[in-house]
């Protein structure tokens, strides 16, 4: 069941088309990656979902019903450009944003205390934002975004500006939120994080949706029948045995006891027979398909080579 559905959405600005007939469907309880190069139209789409701007045509459905103005309180949005009032105290500011999200002052205070303790930042309550580092300010902003426990969370480049430790902390929190039933939209260029956290992705390039689906399926679908074998035994014998059956791509350091070899098996090449051939020649330590990384797929897709 999908939580959010974007149907044939187009949006033009004075000089260019930001979104061209984009459709996508975000399953409930998923972490959904919204990928694309700079200027592809991701932020415009997010703003339309947030009802900051209206589409020229097309509809957004939340839980099967067209998105209503009140629905924004069910969305938590962490924009790419982090913004806090510089001269306001952290605690007061967090309270202010929480109240604007519809929480009562008491609720908001209780929840904030809990989160501040959880992140180990109780001591920041009375500090001014100017005294915080960029990463610290982003932690505060993250808390403010999720505080009202929205059904749908939208993170625009959430890890930028975080050190690896804090990025991990954030990643864990995002996974926890998903496990507790929230749906997460995740806009990023960071492909490593996409593979780690996203279940589904949509790739937007030049205002169009050019690739959508489950991360696993996409990666497997773009496999090029390349396999990697780790073995123990004579490299010469193996290469000699395989030369006629498939293409040899590369091999590693020849002096090592353990060898590995990448091979390309044609579609009709018969993986099974090749495995038994290898098995006859050398001792197999592992044999697996080389699945392209999201990074490779992203670059190829944007370059138009898919």
């Amino acid at each position: 069941m999908e939580l959010l559905k974007v149907e044939n959405v187009s949006k033009s600005f004075a000089k260019h088309k930001a979104l061209d007939d984009v459709s996508l469907s975000i399953p409930r309880g998923s972490v959904y990656g919204l990928l694309g190069p700079n200027g592809a139209g991701k932020t415009t789409l997010i703003r339309i979902i947030n009802r900051i701007t209206a589409p020229d045509s097309g509809t957004i459905y939340l839980n099967g019903k067209p998105l209503q103005p009140e629905d924004v309180t069910r969305i938590g949005y962490l924009p790419e450009e982090r913004g806090l009032y510089k001269n306001m105290k952290v605690g007061e500011q967090a309270l202010y944003f929480a109240q604007l999200k519809g929480l009562s002052r008491r609720d908001a205070t209780a929840r904030l205390k809990k989160w501040f303790t959880h992140f180990g930042i109780q001591g920041w309550w009375d500090k001014k934002v100017t005294e915080l580092s960029k990463g610290m300010a982003q932690k505060v902003q993250f808390i403010v975004t999720i505080l009202h426990e929205p059904e749908l969370l939208i993170f625009d480049e959430p890890f930028s500006g975080f050190d690896p430790i804090n990025a991990n902390l954030l990643k864990e929190e995002i996974m926890k939120l998903r496990d507790n039933g929230a749906t997460v939209i995740f806009s990023t260029h960071n492909m490593a994080s996409v593979e780690e956290v996203c279940d589904h992705i949509t790739l937007i390039n030049k205002s169009k949706n050019i690739l959508s689906g489950k991360v696993d399926e996409i990666r497997h679908a773009h496999g090029n029948n390349i396999f990697e074998v780790d073995f123990r035994g004579s490299r010469e014998e193996l290469t000699a045995a395989l030369t006629d059956k498939c293409t040899l791509l590369e091999s590693n350091d020849e002096n090592s006891v353990y060898n590995s070899l990448k091979i390309h098996i044609p579609d009709d090449g018969g993986v099974k027979s090749i495995i038994s051939l290898i098995n006859d020649t050398v001792e197999i330590r592992s044999f697996h398909e080389v699945i392209p990384s999201m990074n490779d797929i992203f670059i190829k897709a944007v370059a138009g080579q898919l």
Partner: protein
């Protein structure tokens, strides 16, 4: 609690706690008192340069009787005009040429100056010449004891001005006080509208450049944001105004008790028609009407109430425009050309205000006190003199209707403007934005 009130509450709390608020609240009255003192001093000690005027009197009648007045110093000369002008003498201001037949032809008087002359100087000279010529003409009638008669008939008149109230009582009024109040409050509206309007604009620019708006707009509508900011700052302004009024009334009242206790008694005595000490009459009549005017509760309510209403209306109207400008730019430097359309009506209002103080019920004053963009300042200048109720209410209604319309328009510009970065928009573009469907 509605979102607008949450936003307004933040604006209010943040600003009231700032040091700058406390400082301006204390310093503004001090500044105003200082300004008044400086102006008074300047008027008293105005020492202008002496202006040397050489008189070529062909009639021989006028020059001997010309008296040095103020900074004008007259001296006669037998040289011809050509000789005098052939070479410029140092510190010679001008040459006054009086024709031979000036009695028959009073238009035969010329005044040549090296610098531009002023109306005051010209009037002072013509007045003197007129008096001299009139005197000469009187002499030609050969009346006996003429100087004595003239001295006897000279009668300076001192008029005490009163206004008849609705209940039929008469009240002494002081136009001196009216002018002072009109000027002070008109100027104050002009200043606070600019001051607080700018505060709104800077607030919007700050939120835009901090990217706070990006976070906010997912939870509130841009319109709520704008209204919250405008109303929050309005509350700051009202608080500041109330503090000032308390300060002025408190300090003024205390001063009055110390220095003018007996004058208030005198004023009260005059009000009740009791005869006053004749020797002090002339001076006290003026003072008494001043005190009567500024201690009249009806008058004070009209002035302070009017100020509050027109200040709030004017502020709301202009702050909506300031908010629209703030939303359109990335930093304060870019606001200048967009601020021009806001400043022009305000400055125009100030110009009309000066005129309205002299002719508070004239056509110009009437129309500009109805036009919402100028009415707050101009109406303030008319108010001390008394304005018909229907005009007052019409002006207030027009002001607030225009405010609503302006907020609607500014809201549309604001909504588009806050997401426009890196552009220096023109006024034309702003108007185009207001028609965008967002």
């Amino acid at each position: 609690m509605s979102k607008i009130s949450i936003i307004a509450g933040r604006e209010f709390n943040e600003r009231v706690r700032k040091k700058s608020f406390i400082i301006t609240t204390i310093l503004m009255p001090v500044f105003f008192v200082g300004l008044i003192v400086v102006m008074a001093l300047m008027m008293n000690f105005q020492q202008e340069e002496e202006k040397q005027i050489t008189v070529l009197d062909k009639s021989g009648m006028v020059a001997p009787k010309l008296q040095n007045s103020g900074d004008l110093i007259f001296s006669t000369s037998e040289s011809s005009f050509e000789e005098l002008t052939a070479e410029k003498q140092d510190d010679l201001y001008g040459i006054l040429v009086i024709g031979e037949n000036v009695i028959e032809n009073p238009k035969n008087v010329q005044f040549y100056t090296y610098e531009s002359s002023t109306i005051n100087i010209e009037k002072s000279i013509t007045d003197q010449i007129e008096n001299i010529l009139e005197e000469e003409k009187l002499k030609s009638y050969n009346i006996e004891n003429l100087p004595q008669i003239l001295a006897e008939i000279e009668t300076p008149v001192s008029m005490q001005v009163s206004q008849i109230t609705e209940t039929g009582e008469t009240k002494a009024v002081s136009n001196m006080v009216n002018i002072a109040i009109a000027y002070l409050f008109g100027l104050m509206i002009y200043m606070v509208v600019f001051l607080y309007g700018n505060m709104v604009m800077q607030g919007v620019i700050e939120e835009k450049s901090n990217k706070v708006l990006e976070v906010m707009v997912s939870s509130v509508k841009p319109f709520q944001l704008m209204m919250g900011k405008i109303l929050g700052i309005a509350a700051v302004a009202v608080l500041q105004f109330v503090i000032w009024v308390v300060f002025i009334v408190g300090v003024g009242g205390a001063l009055m008790n110390v220095f003018a206790g007996d004058m208030i008694e005198a004023a009260a005595a005059m009000q009740s028609g009791m005869p006053m000490d004749m020797t002090n009459m002339a001076m006290d009549a003026d003072m008494a009407s001043v005190i009567n005017t500024i201690t009249d509760p009806g008058y004070l309510i009209r002035i302070f109430g009017g100020f509050l209403i027109f200040f709030i209306g004017g502020y709301l109207l202009y702050s909506a425009m300031f908010a629209a400008v703030g939303s359109a730019v990335d930093n304060e430097k870019d606001t200048q050309n967009l601020q021009l359309p806001i400043s022009i009506p305000l400055i125009l209002a100030l110009v009309v205000m000066v005129n309205a103080m002299q002719d508070p019920n004239g056509q110009l004053a009437f129309w500009f006190s109805m036009i919402p963009f100028t009415s707050p300042v101009v109406m303030m200048a008319r108010l001390p003199y008394g304005v018909p109720d229907w005009q007052l209410w019409l002006s207030i209604v027009l002001l607030f209707i225009t405010f609503v319309g302006m907020v609607w328009l500014a809201g549309k510009i604001y909504r588009v403007g806050i997401f426009m970065y890196g552009k220096k928009p023109t006024l034309k573009e702003l108007i185009k934005w207001s028609r965008y469907k967002v």
